[in-house]
C-alpha cells in the first residue's frame, strides 16, 4: 500500500537513529536487573499474547531520507491554499502567520515540555498561559478565560454543559446560524447526557434568527447558543438576546469562529454574553486540514469555578518573587475525578502559545488593522462577485465572510471550480446535506491573504461555471 518503496531494511538493533541503547548497554542493564533476556521482562504477558516477531503489515524501519521522500510525495498530492485562489472559511480561516511565530513555538523548551506541573521549571509555559488567558478574556470581552480547549466545537459543547450545571436546566436553544459541525457535536453529546437541543438549518436571509431565538426562550432554557458572526457571515447585535435570556434565568453562550473579527466588531462579552467560546485557529495556528486547533473559553468571573479546563494563576515563591502556577484544579479530573467539571486533560497548549505570540506581534493596533483589511477586501470581493450573472449576495452585514446564492447546486460548482484550480468556498450542500432548499448557497471567505487577482480569478471562473 505505500506509494513509494521505502527501502526499509531488516532489524539491526544498533542503527535505529532514535534509540540510543547499544547491545552492550542492554546486556549490562539486564545483568543489573538480574534478567537473562528482554523476554524475561515480559513474563507477565500471557504466552499466547506475546508476538514472536515484528507485526505484519507494517514496513521495516526506513531512513530519514526515504521517509521524507514518501511524506513529501503525499504532501504533493494536495492542492495547498497557497497554490490557488482560495476562499474557504466556515470555521477555519487562512491568515498569514508571521515567521517568528513558528520559529518560537519550535523552541525545544516550549515544544518538548509537558503540562507545567512543576512550576519552578515551567515558568515559561505558565507565564505564557497567564498572558494568553488575559488576551483571550479581553478579546472576547469577558472577565476570565481558561488555558484552552481542543477546538471551538468541543468548547461549545462544554459551554452548554456548564450552563446546565449553573442553571440546573437541560434545554439549550441553538441558533440556526451556529456552525453545523458544532451543532452535530452538541447533538452527539446530548444523546447521552439527556440535554434537549432545539435547532434548525439556516435560511438564506439577510437577517439572523435572533428574534426567533428570543421568542423561543422559556423557563426550561439553560442557554441560548449563538454564533457571531454566524455561519453565513451575518452579524447581529446580541444585546437583546442577552437581555431576553437573562430575564428568563438562562445564559447566553456566544460562539466566535473567526476571532480576527473581534478587532472590528463588538465583543460578545460586552453585549452581555455569559460564556463566550471560540475557535482560535485564525490567529497563529494555521489551517492544518482541521487540527490541531484551539478552543477558546471565557466567561464571567462569577462562573469561574464551573469552568472546564486548566487555569493558570498568579502567586509568589518562597522568596517572595512573583510566579505562576496551575490553579483551581479542584475543578479538574486529576483531583476531582468523576466530579470534575470536564474530563479534559491534554489541551491545545502549543496552539495557545502560537495564538499568544501572534497576538503579541499584532497588538491592538495590528489586530485592528488586520481586521480592517480583511473587511475591506471582503467588501470588494462581495461587490465584485455579486455582479456575476447567476449570483446573489445574501448578507447585508458581514465581516470577512459572506454567503452567495448561485443559480445551481453550489457543491457541484465548487467541485468544478477546483478542477480549474480555484478553491471557491464552502458549499451549503456540504454542510447541510439534508437541506436541499439551501443547496445553492456558497460561503466565501476573504482575508488579508486574498489578492485582487484571486478575486478576479474566482469571479471569472464563476461566470463561466454559471453561464
Amino acid at each position: 500500500m505505500p506509494l513509494f518503496d521505502l527501502k526499509g531494511r531488516g532489524l539491526e538493533r544498533n542503527d535505529m537513529r532514535y534509540l540510543p541503547l547499544t547491545d552492550t548497554d542492554r546486556q549490562a542493564m539486564l545483568a543489573t536487573i538480574g534478567a537473562a533476556s528482554i523476554d524475561d521482562l515480559f513474563v507477565d504477558v500471557p504466552a499466547e499474547a506475546r508476538l514472536a516477531g515484528p507485526i505484519a503489515g507494517l514496513p521495516a524501519h526506513a531512513s530519514e531520507l526515504a521517509v521524507e521522500r514518501h511524506m513529501t510525495a503525499l504532501a504533493r498530492q494536495n492542492l495547498s491554499a497557497g497554490e490557488a485562489p482560495f476562499f474557504l472559511g466556515a470555521g477555519a480561516y487562512r491568515h498569514h502567520v508571521p515567521a517568528s511565530v513558528d520559529h518560537l513555538i519550535q523552541r525545544g523548551e516550549f515544544l518538548t515540555a509537558y503540562t507545567p506541573y512543576q512550576p519552578e521549571i515551567a515558568q515559561g509555559t505558565l507565564q505564557v498561559l497567564f498572558e494568553f488567558q488575559t488576551q483571550v478574556a479581553r478579546l472576547l470581552g469577558c472577565d476570565v478565560a481558561n488555558a484552552s480547549m481542543y477546538d471551538g466545537s468541543t468548547a461549545c459543547w462544554e459551554a452548554i454543559g456548564m450552563a446546565r450545571r449553573i442553571t440546573k436546566r437541560g434545554k439549550a436553544l441553538l441558533s440556526s446560524g451556529l456552525h453545523p459541525h458544532y451543532v452535530s457535536v452538541a447533538q452527539t453529546m446530548a444523546k447521552f447526557t439527556g440535554d434537549a437541543l432545539v435547532h434548525d438549518a439556516p435560511t438564506l436571509d439577510a437577517a439572523t434568527d435572533i428574534d426567533v431565538l428570543i421568542a423561543a426562550i422559556d423557563k426550561d432554557t439553560s442557554c441560548v447558543v449563538v454564533q457571531y458572526p454566524d455561519i453565513l457571515g451575518r452579524i447581529a447585535d446580541l444585546t437583546p438576546l442577552a437581555d431576553a435570556a437573562h430575564a428568563a434565568g438562562a445564559l447566553l453562550v456566544a460562539v466566535v469562529t473567526e476571532p480576527v473579527a473581534l478587532g472590528a466588531i463588538k465583543a460578545p462579552g460586552a453585549m452581555g454574553a455569559d460564556i463566550v467560546v471560540g475557535e482560535g485557529q485564525s490567529i497563529g495556528v494555521g489551517l492544518q486540514f482541521g487540527g490541531p486547533y484551539l478552543g477558546l473559553f471565557a466567561c464571567k468571573q462569577k462562573y469561574v469555578r464551573q469552568m472546564p479546563g486548566r487555569l493558570c494563576g498568579e502567586t509568589v515563591d518562597a522568596a517572595g518573587k512573583r510566579g505562576f502556577v496551575l490553579t483551581l484544579s479542584t475543578r479538574e479530573q486529576h483531583i476531582r475525578r468523576e466530579k470534575a467539571t470536564s474530563n479534559i486533560c491534554t489541551n491545545s497548549g502549543l496552539c495557545a502559545l502560537a495564538f499568544s505570540i501572534h497576538m503579541t506581534l499584532l497588538g491592538e493596533k495590528g489586530l485592528r488593522e488586520l481586521a480592517a483589511l480583511n473587511h475591506a477586501l471582503a467588501c470588494e470581493a462581495a461587490d465584485r462577485l455579486a455582479r456575476v450573472p447567476g449570483v446573489t449576495l445574501v448578507n447585508d452585514s458581514f465581516f470577512n465572510e459572506f454567503t452567495l446564492v448561485l443559480n445551481k447546486d453550489a457543491r457541484e460548482a465548487v467541485r468544478n471550480l477546483a478542477d480549474r484550480g480555484v478553491l471557491a468556498g464552502v458549499s451549503l450542500g456540504r454542510l447541510y446535506p439534508k437541506a436541499p432548499e439551501i443547496a445553492g448557497g456558497l460561503i466565501v471567505a476573504v482575508t488579508e491573504t486574498t489578492t485582487v487577482e484571486d478575486i478576479e480569478a474566482l469571479a471569472t471562473a464563476l461566470e463561466e461555471e454559471l453561464a
Binding site: 505505500p2 535505529m16 541503547l21 507477565d44 504477558v45 500471557p46 515484528p54 503489515g57 507494517l58 524501519h61 530519514e64 521517509v67 511524506m71 513529501t72 503525499l74 494536495n78 491554499a81 497557497g82 518560537l104 523548551e109 516550549f110 515544544l111 515540555a113 519552578e120 521549571i121 515551567a122 507565564q127 488567558q133 476570565v144 477546538d151 444523546k191 447521552f192 452579524i235 447585535d237 478587532g263 489551517l287 486540514f289 482541521g290 490541531p292 494563576g313 498568579e314 502556577v325 490553579t327 470534575a340 479534559i344 491534554t346 497548549g349 502549543l350 495557545a352 503579541t360 506581534l361 497588538g363 489586530l367 467588501c379 465581516f399 465548487v414 467541485r415 478553491l423 456540504r430 488579508e448
Partner: protein, 524 residues
C-alpha cells in the same frame, strides 16, 4: 596579572567566592533573565506586524464596530522574539534532559516529524476542500488508521478524538451506543482506584455512574472482586494495561472474558501502550476499545500541555458505532472522507460527530512519520528498550527507595516508588524539588493514588544508559539526603528560576488575568 598594552588582563585571579555574588541592579542573573508580562512591557500602539494599505470601503459591520479599547499590548518583532525566547529558557523540556514523568511517555520528539507536518501540502490545506484536492492528506489518515489497527489487532479505529480523554469519551460513547442499540441501558462503569483521573471523569461526562474496582496487594486488578461486581447494570470496565503502577495486568484476557460474559464491554486506557507496542496486541486480550495517545507512544510533542491526539481502536462489536467522519479507500485507489454529506446508508449506527473536523491532522502526519521511521521492527524495539530502561531504574534504586510493588514481577515501562522510609517531615515533594536542582525534571508525584507519596518514573526508550546512570546517581543522592533528614533539601530548588511556589495562595485568591488595577494595588 597578565595585561595587554591596552590595559586588558588576560588571566583571572583564582576565586573561592561563588557565594559572594552581589545582587544585580537588573535582577537578572547572567543568562537567567527576568521577564515582565507583555502587559507591562508592550503598548497598544506598538505592533510587530505591518500590513498593506487598506482599501477604503463603506463598512458593512452591521453597526457593531468595536469602539472600546481592547487592551491588547503589542511588541516589535525583536521584543517579541526576546520575550518568548527568555520565557522559554525558564522551562525544562525533553530537549534539555530526562523527563521521567510517569504515565506521560516523554520520549524524544524527532525533528523530521516537525518538518513533515509543516509541508504546505499538509499544513496549508483547509478541512473542507473538495476531496479531489486533498488525496494525499486523506491517504495519511487512512494509512495511519490501518497501521494502528495492525499494531493493536483490532477491527476498526476512530481517528477523530483530539486527546486521550477525548478518546475515552469516544470509546464510552461507542459502548453506550452499542448497548442502546440492543436496548440495554446499563448505568455503571467500573474503574480501578489507580486509574488516571480522566477515566472516572469521562464516564461521568457521558452520564455513567462510576464505581471503584479494588486492587490486590501486589498492585493488580482484583479479579475475584471484579467478577463478583459484574452484573446487568455494568456497562463497561475501564482498565489501564500496563496499569499505572507499571505492572502488566496478567489476567487481562480472563477479565475480558468475564466482562463479556456479563454483557459488558472492556475499555482499555492505552496511555501506556509504549510498553507493549509491537510485542502485544490489545486485540488479543479481548479489549473492545482503547485510545492511543499519539502524543505519547507515537512521539508527537506535548507542547507544554497539548495538543495531542487520541485515536480509538475498536472491536468488531463496537466499530459500527464509531464517529463521523472517517476515511475509506475505494476500489479505484482514491480515498473518500465519509461524512454526513456522503455517508448514505453506510454507517447507520454511527454515534455522530465529536469534533468540528477530522481530528488532529498535524499529529497524524507526525505519527505516520514516526511509524515509517521505526517500522515494525523499530517499534518492537521501542517497547523492549522502554521496559528495559524502567526495570534498570527500578532495580538500581530499590535499595534506597521503597518500591511497593517491586516484588510483583518485572515492571513494564515505569518504575513506582513511595515515600516510605524518608525521615520524619520529608516528602516526595522534597525529592522532586531536589531533582530540579540536579538538572532533571521530577517524576510524576502523588499518582497513582493507591500508593502514599507515589513517585512514578517513566524513562522511555530514548534515554541512553549514561543518562539513566546520571539520573540514578542524582535520585540516590536525594533519597539518602531525605533519609538522613538533610534540612537543606526542603529548600530545594535553589537554582531554578523560582523557589517553591505557593499554590494555596493562588487558589485562595485566584488572579487569573492581568489587570492594571492589580498592578496599582501591588504598587500600594
Amino acid at each position: 596579572m597578565t595585561m595587554l598594552k591596552e590595559g586588558r588582563p588576560t588571566a583571572p585571579e583564582a576565586v573561592e567566592d561563588a557565594h559572594m555574588a552581589p545582587a544585580t541592579a537588573t535582577g537578572n542573573r547572567a543568562l537567567m533573565l527576568e521577564e515582565k508580562l507583555i502587559f507591562e512591557i508592550g503598548s497598544t500602539d506598538t505592533t510587530g506586524v505591518d500590513f498593506a494599505e487598506t482599501p477604503r470601503v463603506a463598512s458593512r459591520l452591521g453597526a457593531l464596530a468595536r469602539t472600546d479599547a481592547i487592551g491588547l499590548p503589542g511588541l516589535s518583532e525583536q521584543e517579541t522574539v526576546r520575550h518568548y525566547t527568555r520565557l522559554s529558557r525558564q522551562n525544562y523540556a525533553i530537549d534539555l534532559g530526562l523527563f521521567p514523568l510517569g504515565s506521560c511517555t516523554m520520549k524524544h520528539n524527532p525533528r523530521l516529524n516537525e518538518k513533515m507536518a509543516r509541508l504546505p501540502g499538509f499544513a496549508d490545506i483547509h478541512p473542507l476542500q473538495p476531496q479531489s484536492t486533498v488525496q494525499g492528506a486523506l491517504a495519511v489518515i487512512n494509512q495511519l488508521a490501518f497501521w494502528l489497527i495492525d499494531l493493536t489487532g483490532m477491527h476498526g479505529v476512530a481517528m477523530a478524538p483530539k486527546a486521550g480523554a477525548h478518546g475515552e469519551l469516544c470509546g464510552l460513547l461507542c459502548i453506550r451506543a452499542a448497548l442502546e442499540a440492543r436496548g440495554d441501558a446499563r448505568q455503571v462503569v467500573l474503574v480501578p482506584e489507580s486509574a488516571h483521573g480522566t477515566n472516572p471523569a469521562t464516564a461521568a461526562f457521558c452520564g455513567y455512574k462510576v464505581e471503584d474496582i479494588p486492587a490486590t496487594p501486589e498492585g493488580r486488578v482484583d479479579l475475584e472482586a471484579l467478577k463478583a461486581r459484574l452484573g446487568p447494570d455494568v456497562a463497561a470496565v475501564m482498565i489501564t494495561n500496563p496499569n499505572t503502577c507499571g505492572l502488566f495486568e496478567r489476567d487481562m484476557k480472563v477479565i475480558s472474558d468475564a466482562v463479556h460474559a456479563a454483557g459488558a464491554f472492556v475499555y482499555c486506557d492505552g496511555a501506556n501502550f509504549n510498553a507493549i507496542v509491537g510485542r502485544v496486541r490489545p486485540g488479543d486480550l479481548g479489549v473492545d476499545a482503547m485510545h492511543i495517545n499519539l502524543h505519547k507512544t507515537f512521539s508527537t510533542p506535548h507542547g507544554g500541555g497539548g495538543p495531542g491526539s487520541g485515536p480509538v481502536v475498536l472491536s468488531e462489536a463496537l466499530a459500527p458505532f464509531g464517529p463521523l467522519p472517517y476515511t475509506a479507500r475505494m476500489a479505484d485507489g482514491t480515498i473518500h472522507l465519509i461524512e454526513e454529506d456522503n455517508v448514505g446508508e453506510e454507517m447507520p449506527q454511527s454515534f455522530g460527530r465529536m469534533c468540528a473536523f477530522h481530528g488532529q491532522m498535524g499529529m497524524f502526519t507526525r505519527a505516520l512519520t514516526y511509524i515509517l521511521s521505526h517500522g515494525a521492527d523499530g517499534l518492537r524495539q521501542v517497547a523492549e528498550d522502554a521496559v528495559l530502561n524502567a526495570n534498570y531504574v527500578l532495580r538500581s534504586l530499590e535499595d534506597v527507595l521503597d518500591a511497593p510493588f517491586g516484588a510483583s514481577g518485572p515492571c513494564m515501562h515505569e518504575a513506582l516508588f513511595s515515600d516510605k522510609g524518608l525521615a520524619e517531615g520529608f516528602t516526595t515533594l522534597d525529592i522532586a524539588k531536589g531533582l530540579i536542582d540536579e538538572g532533571f525534571h521530577p517524576m510524576t508525584m502523588y499518582f497513582p493514588l493507591v500508593v502514599h507519596g507515589a513517585m512514578l518514573v517513566e524513562p522511555t526508550e530514548t534515554e541512553s544508559k549514561a543518562a539513566l546512570d546520571q539520573f540514578i546517581l542524582a535520585l540516590r543522592s536525594l533519597a539518602e539526603r531525605a533519609k538522613a533528614g538533610d534540612e537543606a533539601l526542603k529548600g530545594a530548588p535553589y537554582h531554578a528560576p523560582r523557589r517553591r511556589l505557593d499554590e494555596t495562595l493562588a487558589a485562595r485568591k485566584p488572579v487569573l488575568t492581568w489587570s492594571e488595577q492589580a498592578l496599582a494595588q501591588a504598587a500600594e
